[in-house]
Amino acid sequence: MKTKKVAAILLAAVLALAACGSDDDEGAGTDEGGGASLEAPPADTEATLRVWLNGPDTPDEMIDMAKETFKEQYPDVTVEVERQEWDGIVDRLTNVLPTEDSPDIVEMGNTQAQAFEAAGALVDLSSARDELGGDDLVDSLVEAGTYDGSFYGVPYYGGARIVVYRKDLFEASGLSIPTTMDEFVAAGKKLQADNAATPNFSGIYFPGRNWQATLSFIWDAGGDIAVNEDGEWVGELDSPESVAGLETVQDIMLNANQAPADTDDAEDFLAFCNGEVGMLMGPGWKMGQITGEDGCPGKYDAVLGAFPLPGSDGEVAPSFLGGSNLGISAESQNPGLALAFLKVLTDNPYQTAFAENGLIPVRKSLLGEVQGDEAAEAQAEAAQITRFVPSSENWAEVESGTILHDMGAAIAGGADVQEEATRANDAVVAILNGN
C-alpha cells in the first residue's frame, strides 16, 4: 500500500507541475492584451517591435525603406522583421499569438485572416481605419480584414490573376488577344489543335486543382460559392449558373488541356518552359517566374505576353483576389507603436513600391500606378473586378478539407459536373454553417 501511495503522489506531483506550468487563460481576450491603447506613443519611446512577414513576397529594399521611414518618427524603436515561411504559418500563428512571446505585427493570407479575427487574436482597429486608408482601401481586402463589423486586418498587398500566353503560338495560329470568354475558350482549342504534334501540349494549361482560376469561370457565369443570408450560409455551387461556369471549365480541361487532372498550378511554369503551354492562368508574378532563374531565363522572354481573363460580357472576368492582411496581436505590448508602423506600410510611398514590383497596392488611388511589364498592366486591369471567398471564420476548414481541390480534380477527370458541384456544395455549406 505504501508503494502505491508513493506512486500516486509522484504522479500527482508531476501532473501538478505540468499543469501549473501552463497558464490557462482566465478569460483573456482582446482587452487583456497589451493593455495599452492605440494612441501614438511619444516620439522618444524606447522599444522593440517584432514583425512577421511571410514568404519572399516583400522585397528586402521595401523593408529597409519602411524601417527608415519609421525611424524618423521613432528613433529609439528597433523594428525586427522576421521572415516566416507561408508553409505552416497558420500552425505557428495559432500557437504563438496567444502567448506573451507573440510578435507585435503578423501577416496572414487573406483567406486565413477571418479565422483569427473571429477568435479574438487581433486588436480591433476600427477606430484607426481612416488613418490607415479608409475608403481608399481595396474593398475585397477590407472585407477579408473585417469580422462582425469590426476591422482587424489591414490590407497589405493584393494580387489578381492574369493569363500568360505565347505570342509566337498566337501568331502561328492567327489569333489575337481574346476579348470575351467565348473567344478565350475558342483560342485555347485552336492552339490545342494546331499544336497537337507537341507532346503533352495544352492550349490552356488547366490542372484540376487550380480552384482560384475555376472561381473566375463560376463568377463569370453568374454563380458563386455561397452567400450569407441573415447569418446563414446558402450554397450556390450547385446553382445552374455555377454549374454552367463549371461546364465551361470542364470543356477546357478535356478539350484544350493536357495538364494532370489532380495537380495544382504550382509547377505550371515548368510545363511552360518545356514548351507545352499556349496559355496559362496564374497570379501576376507568373511571368516573372518563367523568365526568372527558377524558370527558363531567355528562352521565351521575347514572346511572353499577358492579358486579363476576359469575361462573357466583354469586360474582364471577375478575378480571384489573392493577397495578405496585417494584424496587431492582442498580446502585443506596444499596439500604439505597431499601429504607427502599419500606417507606414499602408501609406502611399510604400504601396507605390508594391505597384512598381508588380503587386497590387491596397489603395484604389494607386491602382493606376501599377507599372512594369505587360503582366503588371494586365493585373491592374484584372484588379478592376475582383471577388473573394465567403468571409467566414470557418473557411480555413474548407481549405484544409480540400473540397474545391477534389471537385476540380474530379471534373478534370471527366466526372459529372452537376454531381460534383452538388457534393462540394453540400460539404462547403455544412462547414460554413459550423456543422
Binding site: 508503494t3 501552463s22 490557462d24 516566416q84 508553409d87 500552425d91 505557428r92 495559432t94 504563438v96 512571446d101
Partner: protein, 272 residues
C-alpha cells in the same frame, strides 16, 4: 554456411539497389539545375553544384544545424539513460503498478502526436521553454520513450539474471550490477534504439515548426521548408541538396556506434 557465399551476396546487392535507389535519386537530383528537374530522367550524379551553394548560402543553415545537433544528441542521451533504468525496473522487479506503467507507456505511443500540439506548446510556454533547446528536447524525449522502453525491456530480459547475481555475490550493489553487467550486454539494443531516437529527433518537423518559430532557433527540417515557396513552387534542387546534407550526420552517427552491435555479439557468448 561459410562456403558459397556469392548467391547471398548477389541477393544482398539486389536488396541494396532497391533500398538505396530513392536515396540515389535524391543525390542525382541535387546536382541537376532546377529548370531540368521536372523533365526526363537522368541517371548520373553530375551537373551543377548550384544547389549545394544555395543551401550553404541560405540564412541560418549553420545555426539550424547546431540546433538540430544539440537537441538530437541530448534527446538520445537522456532517452537512452531514462529508458534503460525503466527497462531494468520493469524487467527485473515485480512491483505494484508495473503493468500499469507498461500499458500507460504504450497508450502514450498510440496517441497521434498532432492532436497534442496546442497543449504541448501551452505547457512549454508556461515554463518559458518555447524557442529553447531544453523545451524541444523534453518533448522529443517524451515521444521516443515509449518505444525505447519497450524495446530495451526486451533486450534486458534477454540477459540472464544470473550474471547480475554473480556480480552481487562479488560484493557489488544491485544498482551497480545493472551498470557494470547488464548495460554492456544490452549494447546492441542501445544501439538500435539510439539510432531510432537519433533519427526521430533529427528529422522531426511538426513540433519543431511550432515550438521553434524564431529563425535563429529553427532545426534543420524546419529550415529546409524555406525552399518551399508555397504557391510559387519549390526549389527542388535546394530541397534535395539540403536533404542529402541532412542525412550525413545520421550516417556518421551510425558508423560510430554500429560496431557495438558486433561487440555485443561476442559479449553475448557468455557461459552461465
Amino acid at each position: 554456411m561459410y562456403r558459397r557465399r556469392w548467391p547471398l551476396n548477389l541477393v544482398a546487392v539486389a536488396v541494396m539497389v532497391v533500398v538505396a535507389f530513392p536515396v540515389y535519386w535524391m543525390l542525382v537530383t541535387s546536382f541537376r539545375p532546377n529548370s531540368q528537374i521536372r523533365t526526363a530522367p537522368r541517371f548520373l550524379p553530375i551537373g551543377t553544384l548550384d544547389n549545394y551553394r544555395a543551401v550553404f548560402e541560405r540564412d541560418h543553415f549553420w545555426s539550424s544545424f547546431a540546433n538540430s545537433l544539440q537537441v538530437t544528441l541530448l534527446t538520445v542521451v537522456f532517452a537512452l539513460f531514462t529508458a534503460f533504468l525503466a527497462a531494468v525496473a520493469v524487467s527485473r522487479f515485480r512491483f505494484r503498478g508495473r503493468l500499469v506503467f507498461l500499458v500507460v507507456v504504450l497508450l502514450v505511443q498510440m496517441v497521434p502526436a498532432e492532436a497534442l500540439m496546442i497543449s504541448v506548446v501551452k505547457v512549454l510556454e508556461g515554463w518559458s521553454l518555447r524557442n529553447s533547446i531544453a523545451g524541444l528536447t523534453i518533448t522529443y524525449v517524451a515521444f521516443v520513450l515509449p518505444f525505447t522502453v519497450w524495446t530495451l525491456r526486451g533486450f534486458v530480459g534477454g540477459v540472464p539474471r544470473e550474471l547480475e547475481e554473480a556480480a552481487m555475490m562479488d560484493g557489488s550493489s544491485r544498482l551497480r550490477a545493472f551498470f557494470t553487467v547488464t548495460l554492456p550486454l544490452v549494447a546492441p539494443g542501445l544501439v538500435a534504439t539510439g539510432i531510432f531516437a537519433f533519427i526521430q529527433a533529427w528529422n522531426e518537423f511538426t513540433f519543431a515548426l511550432v515550438i521553434m518559430d524564431r529563425p535563429e532557433r529553427e532545426t534543420l527540417p524546419v529550415w529546409l521548408q524555406a525552399f518551399n515557396f508555397g504557391a510559387r513552387g519549390t526549389d527542388w534542387g535546394g530541397v534535395m541538396a539540403g536533404s542529402t546534407l541532412i542525412t550525413v550526420p545520421v550516417i556518421v552517427f551510425f558508423l560510430l556506434v554500429h560496431r557495438r552491435v558486433a561487440a555485443g555479439m561476442t559479449a553475448g557468448a557468455v557461459k552461465g
